[in-house]
Amino acid sequence: MKIALPVTSDKVEDQMNRTFGRAPKFMIYETQTDAFEMVDNAQNLNAAQGAGTQSAQNVASSGAKAIICKNCGPNAYQVLTAAGIEIYIAESGTVKENIEKFKKGELKSSSSANVEGHWL
C-alpha cells in the first residue's frame, strides 16, 4: 500500500516535515516493497493561499491510500477524505520510525482536521 509523508529530503532517516501544505516534497512509500518515489510540492511554498488544497491534490494524484502527517487543516482534510485517503497523525519522528509505527498499527487515524486553516 502506498503511504504519503510530507518531507524535506529523500532520506528515510530524516525527520518528517512539520507542516503538510507547505512541505517541499512528498515521499510516496510502498509498504509492501519498502520502495518509494518522490513528488515535488515546491509550487506550494510560494502560493499565497490554498496550499492545503493543492498539496492534498498532489497527494491524491500520487495514488497514495494513506498519509502520515503532524497537522492537517480543514481544506486539506476535505480533499483527502474525498479521495478516500486515510489520515494518520504522527507528532514527530523520522520517516522510517513512522512507517514502522504504521506497519505495527501504532498510529491513530484522524476523523477530522486537527488544526485550523492558516496561511503557512
Binding site: 493543492q54 491534490q57 494524484s61 481544506n75 476535505q78 474525498a82 479521495a83
Partner: protein, 281 residues
Amino acid sequence: MKLAVASGKGGTGKTTLSVAIAKTFDGPVQLLDCDVEEPNSHIFLKLENKIIEKVNVPVPVIDLEKCTHCGKCAEICEFNAIISFGGTTTMVFPDLCHSCGGCELVCPEGAITEKPEEIGELTKCNLGNIKFLEGKLKIGKAMSPPIIRAVKNAAEDELFTVIDSPPGTSCPMIAAVHDADYVLLVTEPTPFGLNDLILAVETVRDMKISFSVAINRFDVGDDRVEKYCEKEGIEISLKIPDSRKVAVAYSKGISLDEVMPEVKTDIRKFLKSIESSGRQS
C-alpha cells in the same frame, strides 16, 4: 468629485473627519464608508430607514453531470480554490475563491456556472443632504476589496463624494482610494503617525492622485510631521487641536462639527481649495 479620507495609521481620525466634512458640505453629498472591516461612520449620524442588502461574490459551481474531471479549472486557478484529481474528483473551496471567472471560461464542457456567495452587507440611507452608503464585511470572511467595490458600484457618479477609507496601504486601501480625485491623509504628530504617513504618501504618489495632510491632535507629540510635510512640499490642509472635550464627545458618538463648530470654517476653506483639483498627470 471624489474625496478619499485615508491614513497609514489607524485611529488618526479618518472617520471623524469624513463625517465632519460630509456634514459641513453645502449641498447634496455622498458619504461612502469603505472601512468595511470596522465601519464606524454610522455611529455619528442619526440614520433611520436603512436599506440593507446582501453583498455577494460569484463562486463556481460544478455540474458533476457535465464535468469530465479534465482538471483545466484546477490548472487555471491561481488560488487553489478548485481541486481536481484522479479523473474522478473535482471540488470547489469557496472561501479561497477570488471570483476571477477563469474556471468558468476555461471549462471545455461548460460545466461551471457561478452562484452568489455572501460576503457582507451594503447599507443605504439618506439623511438630509447626505446620501450614505456603508459596506460591512461578514465576520470570518477574509477579503475586503469585493465589498469595497460593491459600495463604489452602488454610489452615484455625479455627487460630491467623501470616501471613509480603511487604514493602511495594502489592497483594501487601494480599492477604496484608487478612483478618487483627491486624498486627504489624516495623521497625528507622533513617531507612529509619521512612520505610517510616509507609507501612505508613497502609496498615494504611486497612484498619482493629488493629496494633502490633516494633522489631528496637532498639539500633542512633536513637530516631526510638520517638518516632514515642509521638506516634501506637502500642504497641511487642516490642523485640529487635541481636546479632551472632543475625545469624550467622540466616545459618545457626537461628531466633530457639533462639538467643535469652528472646524467647519477650516473645512469649508479646504473644500474650496480642492474644488478645481483633479488627478495629477
